[in-house]
């Protein structure tokens, strides 16, 4: 599918980064012209704010700053927003209701998820909980699939329309420091590319080089990070509709457990308009100690009898990989420092909480809060640590930190050995035994089947009781 937005993006790519004036000098990269005009009465800063990274967090922050009348530069190291970004496939855009009430009119959705399956795989068997809510396909909508190249470009464009200045193809290489070591802007890889700013918002993604340099973050750790590996596979629209039981712009979202060959993690399968996205999210430390290659795990998922029929005859259009911060609430960095705020994956804000797998909405929520906090701090004349503390207070009273705080134990539960290695087999054994009719033998009691399935999978009754209690506590 080629949306108008895609065409805009390709045009932007051909013409070079938006926000540049004139041709690049021969043999070199164009300087950041026009950004550093002196602004009388505003001290030495060239702009009010620099936002690093035009992903969902960065564009949301830039949107709020521009709307507050602030001069804001939105830096993007890729040739267009979204070009460095990979995710599973579903965005929950209701977070935009308050700021872009018309988002549904032109947000680049591929499909609207009306079917959500949680699938436990064991050997060649599968047990699913399949939820279908047709209403999720009608306004106001719930979750939509989208390509990040489309969605991130669309959101960045909204920020630009509000007055932000997008500078693509530009990598932030470090922080500028002012008196007392406070963050005073960023260095870029453009000639003359130092950008002074009264506040920097680091939305530079999971590797978060700027938050690390600012001393807010020790950097991601293998134990709290997952590698997402994904293939986008082309199929005719009709085939997708028929195989998944969809029509129009309805979409499906499958999350899988028990398919990662012993590496803590899970699998996913999402429908786009004329492609499906299939892949795995794997604990980086688990992947490393397994010695397996990530694409082998994806292959395993693709040829499982519960998944393969959905993919048959498809052609791989794009292979991709990206890290996912999974540490959650317990491993978030400090969210603000002297002259700097951190939002999105750079702050570890992806929610990987078992039945809930969300990230873009958290990035947008945090970006909006960061943009507002920065604008208020600028208005109050204090973009130091004290002035920026309002950011964390705002996040605590929003879903961003409330959900993370509430679900802080969920990932450990989902990645625990019994949930990963024992329960999918237990569920499949129990379901198979319950639904296998082997007359003339009479039906055994379900309680006996449960005990037998538990024993066969090395699960004791007190484990079941303990885990049920843990589920109740974690998802309270």
């Amino acid at each position: 599918m080629t949306s108008p937005n895609t065409d805009d993006r390709r045009a932007a790519e051909r013409e070079g980064a938006p926000g540049e004036a004139g041709d690049p000098p021969p043999g070199g990269r164009p300087a950041l012209r026009g950004v550093r005009e002196p602004e009388p009465g505003r001290g030495p800063a060239a702009v009010d704010a620099v936002v690093v990274g035009a992903g969902p967090a960065g564009s949301a922050a830039a949107l709020e700053l521009a709307r507050a009348g602030r001069s804001v530069v939105l830096l993007e190291r890729g040739p267009f927003p979204g070009s460095k970004n990979v995710y599973g496939g579903v965005i929950y855009p209701r977070v935009l209701d308050g700021v872009l009430p018309d988002w549904r009119e032109d947000a680049p959705a591929q499909r609207w998820v009306v079917r959500r399956s949680t699938v436990l795989l064991s050997g060649d068997r599968a047990v699913s909980v399949d939820v279908r809510v047709p209403g999720w396909g009608r306004p106001p909508g719930n979750g939509m699939t989208a390509y990040r190249a489309d969605f991130d470009s669309w959101l960045a464009d909204r920020a630009v329309r509000a007055g932000a200045r997008l500078v693509a193809s530009t990598t932030a290489t470090g922080l500028l420091r002012g008196p007392g070591g406070r963050v005073a802007g960023v260095r870029t890889d453009r000639p003359g590319g130092d950008l002074a700013a009264r506040v920097v918002i680091a939305c530079d993604g999971v590797n978060s080089l700027l938050a690390r340099e600012a001393g807010l973050h020790p950097g991601p750790r293998a134990r709290h990070t997952a590698l997402g590996v994904k293939e986008v596979i082309a199929l005719p629209r009709d085939a997708i509709d028929q195989r998944f039981g969809l029509s129009g712009d309805e979409g499906a979202d499958f999350e899988m457990l028990g398919c990662t060959g012993g590496i803590p993690g899970g699998g996913f399968l999402y429908t786009n308009a004329e492609t499906v996205a299939v892949g795995a999210v794997l604990s980086v430390s688990g992947l490393a100690s397994s010695g397996r290659r990530p694409e082998e795990v994806v292959d395993r998922i693709k040829r499982h009898p519960a998944i393969a029929p959905y993919l048959r005859g498809g052609t791989v259009k794009e292979y991709a990989a990206h890290l996912v911060p999974e540490g959650g609430y317990r491993h978030m960095p400090r969210l603000y420092g002297d002259g700097i705020l951190v939002a999105g994956d750079a702050a570890g804000m992806t929610l990987a909480a078992g039945i809930w797998l969300e990230g873009v909405n958290f990035a947008i929520g945090a970006g909006l809060a960061a943009g507002r906090a920065a604008a208020e701090a600028l208005a109050a004349g204090d973009t130091g640590r004290r002035g920026l503390a309002r950011y964390e207070r705002a996040l605590r009273s929003s879903f961003v930190l409330a959900d993370h705080a509430r679900l802080r134990g969920a990932l450990d539960l989902v990645l625990s050995p019994r949930v990963q290695h024992r329960y999918p087999g237990l569920a499949a054994d129990l379901a198979q035994a319950a639904f296998t009719v082997d007359n003339p033998a009479p039906k055994p009691g379900l309680a006996r089947l449960l005990l037998r399935a538990a024993r066969a999978n090395g699960v004791r009754l007190h484990h079941l009781a303990a885990d049920a209690w843990r589920v109740a506590r974690v998802f309270r």
Binding site: S83, T225, E231, S285, A288, K302, H304, A321
Partner: protein
């Protein structure tokens, strides 16, 4: 459970090779390696986890016990430095602006 009921191993792979998959990805390769690997340090590494974990398969063990790295078709993900055991073996950064991987359907 009868033998017919027992779970069977998955059918064999008929998947495209990793090279086929990598051929689907757009790269605008820059002239400067954004990640460098000090193969002398790698010689003392016993796990060489980067070799199997890198999703683009850019790390190759060498005959002398080191590791050879090619930056050109890199996803810029960060897995290599996260799994690296040997301090100083991998210097990790981003490519110059506009260079490197370009995901169209990420």
């Amino acid at each position: 459970m009868s033998s017919a009921d027992r779970p069977r191993p998955l059918p064999p792979a008929e998947e495209p090779s990793l090279a086929d998959r990598m051929a689907t990805v757009d790269f605008d390769v820059g002239g400067r390696p954004h990640i460098t690997v000090d193969t002398r340090v790698c010689r003392s590494c016993t796990t060489k986890a980067c070799v199997s974990a890198c999703p683009a398969d850019l790390f190759s063990p060498t005959a002398d016990g080191g590791v050879l790295f090619n930056y050109e078709h890199c996803f810029e993900c960060g897995t290599c430095y996260l799994v690296c055991n040997e301090a100083g073996a991998i210097s990790w950064g981003y490519p110059d602006g506009g260079r490197g991987v370009v995901f169209r359907r990420g």
